[in-house]
Symmetry: C2
Subunit: 571 residues, 2 copies
């Protein structure tokens, strides 16, 4: 629990109280505004006074600045309960800039991707990159690096590595505890992490898709407090009934809101919040961030007062952000001005009482990162150029099948060689952290490529290089070209790079301004589709998840194909 | 936030998880029991397993001990959000014993009464007296000692006195901030306390009867988080809309549930809890403690699942008792077994998985208090015997009118002398802390005494001696007899003590077992009524509040009558 007033000196505190008592003008008064009371679930009307970046009162207040807000509605700033900033493909200062415009004033981020690439330095990089941004960025520490024994990350992160961050006030706990089996079987390294979090009074976020019954009991008993992987109401209500807070996810690839719409009412709404998990910057810019989820919820029938409450107050309560998520004296003046409530038409956004304008963003959205961390982040490719002979298979290999709109894959048997006519393409994962020369090979069906190759260094969770191609030569060329630009997303065809989007920060993030980053994503996507990639899947996001060996059926790693259901490497 | 698992060593934690995973028998399994899921507001059925004093799981569990609970229902242990243990008239070990039987497993106490009598030592006394009891007793520190400038307490308590307790894990914050005007006018000593609580991340409980509008804004903005003084729904919803948590009070004298019944439903119920504030031990034994409030709420139409949730989960959330208030893995196994849900028919109570039997209470309900504190608590009467001439008035004095069933009083003009026939009695408050000889005099109407006198050392908030009588001689005799027994409640008539209840601990609390204490209260009440006290008021509780100069219209202090509405002493 933390009071907003704690940011004030004693004399500022008293000056602030003078404002609330009407003895001194407020910094800003929003006159005749409709505002959301998240405690009684009602829109009310009044003059809202702000001083010292904090709501001072609602009533008959005078302000040094007043704005007539007749016809407008304000709601508390939105909170994303679980997001990997890296998955937006842009660095935090760019992400914060774009998401702030969409009303997001606080997030809980899990620097899981960069931690797989840079180890503990990745966590430090993100902490420094977010320290002085105008969005409040809090951390849940990656709890499963590497994701499992088949994944080849830069280094493993242990409990002792995490503990060094527990004194940081922006570190709230440990993120999505994906290793459900490790918890339930009480694997020592997992117990080290959960028990350490418990001793330090840190939150433990869960990640337990389809886990139920006694396994779920054991998982919850270990100390897990939330879950963002519910796919239907039965699953959600079983978990909520055990005390788990539910995060409803709407990302670029995984979208659960529609199936969980019944959570968007009381008594459930007070224990549910929204999150995006993995969402590309172009989707944020085109459709929105948390505002997009609220919009969708309302369009699917949620009461607006409940949807906005879930997006703010509920998340604030779970994370212990006592001074966030409400429009009331003593709460931080983070809010969104709406032209229309039902369509979530955003007029403007205020952070700590400051109007979020382009000038404000130009001034405030600047990260300061130590040079040694910047240098480390731009030196994450440690591999020799790949030659096509390394990509040849000497025996039949498994074929992984993609399914439109889904992250899970199917087992499509085996193949001897690429067969473009039948959409049998080669997929390779090339180790890039330690120059081990490890290359895992297999085949993929359902991707749709007709010529050339596609490569990306965003490949969950270890973020080695994953590439798909219609011939080994093009795959090798795509990978080598990708390394030249420091990682990213690349489309190679007809002997040349058709389009590329460099992600030089750890091979995961770009420093381009939002509109340029968006343009780049649009370009590489269009280029991928132009050489045949199936429109039912995202050419890069979906591909990146085919390397994550914790989702059934087949996954591709640096060691080859993994049969996830039977938990074994297929040699 | 604190995990129950934090009480376990690492190896116990793993053994506990073995139980949840079904690999090891639980300590106790309640088979076929109906249990309340406070998160989805539903009664469910299952086998509830307990290990290490903690709920381990619900499902197919084996236990070293199993109890068939077919037909029974369990609900989480009850929490009293605000209680002055001193007002029960018994010491903590006696109170805990009786309240535990009624299902109360945790309370937030404010040692306000004893702090008025003993200063900081009173707080220490209560902390020591509650340290090893089987009920979880947490503290909110008295924030207004003395209650105001007209009240003559042992000593004043300042912010620096309170800060010494902030490291104590059972001290959660500061209690009922009664001095609303002091807050709103930013009086330095009040600001010292609120700002210090803010800096230390401590909760600030409120106490703001009828406060509304801008005054309420200023009060809330100072950092106040709750209120237990709401008298109607308008008041409650205005306060809740500003983020205050609402405690619905049902004490011996003040009872607000009926007027606030509409709070006993969602979305309000998650931010409302129950409290007793001031409740005599006999009422707890006869009618119940928090169970009595739940029973009344259900009888007035509350859904049982909501009423039980307010009595447990809602309070736990407000106070940050993360591991309390639910029946779910990882929560402390504090629960109440009911034979019938609707009548709150308690079959048995369990604390940390232990059956609360008489033997358990005999063994566990034992306070250990340092001798120096015990000695100080039994040496709180510092005054000379009173002679009747000191009780004579030389001029007309105000007449305070009592109103049946209410704490407020009326201004009934002036009187020259006692007039028993017209129910004009003399009331006196005699200073007892510093031998100052201060005696405040006045007249009282509506008390009904026909002969003799009544005296008590429970006299809010300073707990000087208050006495009412039909002649000055009997008042003097009653006061002197009261001092001989070390304080308490006493009825004097016809030249002798008709009945007395000694409260030798600070003149506020008895060490008698519950049934004997109850008998004593019944006796002094009966004796008071036998010499005429109006049955519409409580002869002692109501009288004790006539000395509290913060409730309109008139109050009596050691300095004489106070006109509360005009905030002045009537000389």
């Amino acid at each position: 629990m933390e009071y907003q007033q704690k940011n004030l000196t004693r004399s500022e505190y008293e000056e602030f109280l003078k404002v609330t008592a009407g003895e001194k003008p407020a910094d800003l008064v929003l006159e005749n505004v409709s505002y959301l009371d998240v405690f009684t679930n009602q829109f009310k009307k009044g003059n809202v006074a702000i001083a010292y970046g904090t709501f001072a009162g609602i009533g008959d207040y005078k302000g040094r600045v007043t704005i007539d807000m007749t016809g407008k509605t304000i709601v508390p700033g939105f909170i994303d309960g679980h997001i990997h900033i890296e998955s937006t493909t842009v660095v935090p200062e760019i992400f914060a800039r774009e998401a702030l415009k969409h009303g997001t004033t606080a997030i809980l981020t899990d620097p899981h991707e960069i931690a797989n690439v840079m180890g503990v330095d990745g966590i430090k990089y993100m902490l420094e990159a977010t320290e002085n941004l105008p969005m409040d960025i809090y951390f849940m520490l990656p709890s499963c690096v590497p994701s499992c024994e088949f994944d080849e990350s830069k280094s493993a992160i242990f409990a002792r590595d995490m503990e060094q961050f527990y004194d940081n006030k922006r570190v709230f706990g440990i993120a999505e505890l994906m290793d459900v089996k490790g918890v339930v079987s009480r694997r020592p390294d997992v117990m080290d992490k959960t028990y350490s979090a418990i001793l330090n009074n840190k939150l433990i976020d869960g990640h337990a898709p389809t886990v139920t019954g006694q396994e779920l009991m054991a998982y919850v008993a270990a100390g897990v407090l939330s879950d963002h992987e519910c796919a239907d109401m039965n699953e959600a209500l079983e978990k909520m009934g055990l005390g788990l807070w539910i995060m409803i996810r709407e990302g670029t690839a995984a979208q659960n809101l529609e199936a969980l719409m019944d959570l968007c009412k009381e008594p459930y709404a007070v224990r549910c919040m929204f999150c995006t998990d993995d969402r590309h910057i172009n989707d944020i810019m085109d459709e929105g961030h948390i505002d997009n989820i609220i919009r969708k919820a309302i369009s699917l029938g949620a009461a607006p007062e409940v949807a906005f409450k879930m997006a703010s107050c509920s998340a604030a309560v779970y994370f212990g952000l006592r001074d966030r998520g409400a429009i009331s004296p003593g709460f931080r003046a983070d809010f969104v001005v709406l032209d229309d409530v039902n369509t979530v038409a955003i007029n403007s956004v205020y952070k700590s009482g400051q109007h979020v304008t382009d000038e404000y963003l130009d001034k405030e959205c600047k990260s300061k990162i130590r040079k040694e961390l910047e240098d480390a982040a731009s030196d994450t490719f440690h591999l020799q150029p790949v030659t096509s002979d390394k990509l040849q298979n000497t025996k039949a290999l498994p074929v992984m099948g993609l399914v439109d709109g889904q992250l899970y894959t199917t087992n499509e048997g085996e193949a001897e060689a690429i067969d473009v006519a039948n959409d049998i393409l080669k997929v390779a994962v090339i180790e890039r952290h330690h120059n081990t020369g490890h290359i895992g090979l297999g085949f993929i069906k359902g991707y749709g490529l007709k010529s050339g190759a596609i490569a990306t260094s965003v490949a969950h969770d270890s973020h080695n290089i994953i590439a798909v191609g219609t011939c080994e030569e093009d795959i090798a060329a795509a990978v080598n070209e990708l390394c030249k630009i420091g990682g990213g997303m690349l489309v190679y065809d007809q002997g040349q790079v058709k389009a590329s989007y460099a992600l030089p920060v750890a091979g995961l993030m770009s420093k381009l301004p939002g509109n340029e980053a968006k343009q780049k994503i649009d370009q590489v996507r269009a280029a991928a589709e132009s050489i045949g990639v199936n429109k039912g899947i995202d050419p890069f996001m979906t591909l990146s998840f085919t390397a994550l060996p914790v989702i059934p059926e087949l996954r591709i790693t640096t060691h080859g194909m993994v049969d996830v259901s039977n938990w074994k490497l297929i040699r």
